[in-house]
Symmetry: C2
Subunit: 345 residues, 2 copies
DNA sequence: TCGCCGTACTTACCCGGTTCACCGTTTCGG
DNA sequence: CCGAAACGGTGAACCGGGTAAGTACGGCGA
């Protein structure tokens, strides 16, 4: 029942374990005949390289780490992370890398975990999400020496390698679309104001609305939960200058907002247009289906993973080209039933 | 920049590395004075045990594995897995275990991955989800010798350790509740019929409906997507003996069903009552809020993790008590606005 | 004074795979 | 025909911890 080692293979093949190592790793130093014999024996007895032994002799851990800091209830309902993870994985598993995951409740813990993983040589690199302004995690990870890819705008990524998409053009696309429909009062129900992408979207939103000379362009910040999305919606609907269109920062808030509006006897899209950021299947099962800023999130994750892997591989080497990051496609507007011209009044 | 080893500590403390090993592991063989000195140095230079080295000398990998086989788009929208994962993690991180995750597209790959992880000594144990009837994965994992906890009913878990909850009582609670409201035609929109829990729920549903002498009790199987949930709902509404209540196997289908019903001008709950299985925040943001069979999924995951860890720890030991599994609480019905007495006609 | 025991540490070797230096053959070019 | 290079293969050392088996020293009782 003991799991076989290269020494077992060496014994059965009548060679030294060094020859086995060379044979199995497709390195020169053994004849093709012996290589074939050794590979056959390895296959037959079901040998697998002991990852600990490999990692110990200087090689890589063949694992990358990801920590996510959000409470379980939000994490579960937001399709974003699961889609991101499966995208990351598609890239990793193709190269036999594993993903180590940890969910924490406080951003401070994240660095602690990365520090531990790196110190214990459990991971070769990591992905940092939910970038904040002057993020203390960035400076700490910089000095740690761990290869890191940041999902977020380059301006706040320090010397870490960024993977991002330009939310500015997506915001512009949405606002211009609503303006073209005739809307003059647009609101934005945004996520956590400490996150970089929230503020960048806020700024873009304000700038585009000003540029187009809109009557009003309110922004409300929330914690991404449906509850807060609904509450923000009710406050906006009850406000003196009620907006005729609302852009939400995720789809769960958009769905909650839709329900809140319908409950208040508003017709969507007749009285109120709704646009969701991120386009999960959720946007399409509600009625009316939600107009959404659609991104390919699995692809986003895959790009992050690929960038990280090349960073890990090129580490310390004298490659002419520096790895500078990757700009993914911006989200594209997918019009559906939740948007229409504003009411005539 | 090189990461410190116990040899570095030994040099600075002027002792052998064995003394350092004893000191840091709180084992006898060093004086308290030296122990304190050694620990101080370790702390100062930020030493962490190299997990590969530890794992190599017989110890555990301190990692458990989880593979999930569902397409990305379903995975993302179903809160179940993210909640399960965060529950598993809460238990693991408390004991400094890590979680290795892999998303696959075909159940056959799962065993292959477990085989690899176990062969490479990357994991100490694993969790198996989405149990099927006569599941080939069960027999394969049994012979592999990898400690495994199965999320699913003991009858199909073989000799693997099961962690499950009794869906029968939950089905009974839902059907009896609807019957008490006056419903006589109830339908069930179920998940994949090859999964054990789907069939067990099907059987319980049929049995309870027969027992209560209901007029009709249709079951339709789907792939858990909102699309299929909506399609099933439309077919049920259009059928001759239209049900007055529908119980869905997950919340995304329930939401889709709700939208489909409203689109067909049915009032929920006036014309049609809706019950969702699994109670994520999603159930509460739509209008009316969904009556749901609520489970504490993070706790479920935590129980699975705890059971697996004790299995891993007790492995090979002569403990009197065998680890037999864990039965979690059954789901409880949480009545909300989506259920009411059936229409008078 | 000797023997015995416990404490505090050390030396030596293991885990399993990789890598380096070296060594005996064969081949080939000058 | 001889020297150099290429091939095929080996032993030994190494990665960073863990563990078994000593050893040196001090105290204590007889």
């Amino acid at each position: 029942m003991k799991r076989p080692t290269i020494a077992d293979i060496a014994r059965r093949a009548g060679v030294s374990k060094v020859a086995v190592s060379y044979a199995l790793n497709d390195r020169p130093g053994v004849s093709e005949a012996k290589r074939a014999v050794i590979k056959a024996i390895a296959e037959e007895i079901g040998w697998r390289p002991n990852s600990a032994a490999r990692a110990l002799s200087g090689a890589r851990a063949h694992t990358i780490g990801l920590t996510v800091c959000r409470p379980a209830r939000i994490l579960g309902v937001e399709p974003f992370f699961m889609e991101l993870i499966s995208g990351i994985e598609s890239e990793l598993s193709a190269r036999s890398y594993a993903l180590m995951l940890q969910v924490v409740t406080d951003p401070g813990q994240e660095v602690e975990i990365y520090r531990r993983w790196w110190g214990e040589r459990r991971v070769d690199g990591a992905i940092l999400v939910d970038l904040r302004f002057s993020d203390p995690r960035v400076t700490e990870l910089e000095e740690l020496g761990l290869p890191v890819v940041v999902l977020g705008h380059p301006s706040e990524a320090g010397t870490l390698v960024p993977v991002w998409s330009d939310d500015t053009v997506a915001v512009r696309e949405a606002v211009e679309y609503l303006t073209a429909l005739g809307h003059r009062r647009i609101a934005r129900v945004a996520g956590l104001p400490e996150l970089v992408h929230t503020v960048l979207r806020d700024q873009a939103f304000t700038a585009v609305c000003r540029e187009l000379g809109l009557e009003s362009h309110t922004i409300m910040h929330t914690d991404y939960t449906g509850d807060e999305g609904a509450r923000a919606t009710r406050r906006l609907i009850g406000s003196p200058a009620r907006p005729t269109a609302i852009v939400y920062d995720n789809d769960i808030m958009a769905v909650a907002g839709l329900s809140a509006a319908q409950e208040m006897r508003l017709d969507v899209p007749g009285d109120l247009s709704i646009v969701a950021w991120d386009d999960s299947p959720l946007s399409q099962v509600v009625r009316p289906a939600l107009t959404a800023l659609s991104r390919d999130i699995p692809a986003y994750g895959a790009h992050a993973a690929r960038t990280l892997l090349s960073l890990v591989a090129g580490e310390g080497e004298v490659t002419g080209g520096e790895i500078t990051g990757f700009e993914d496609r911006a989200a594209r507007l997918v019009p559906r039933g939740s948007t229409a011209p504003p009411p005539a009044g």
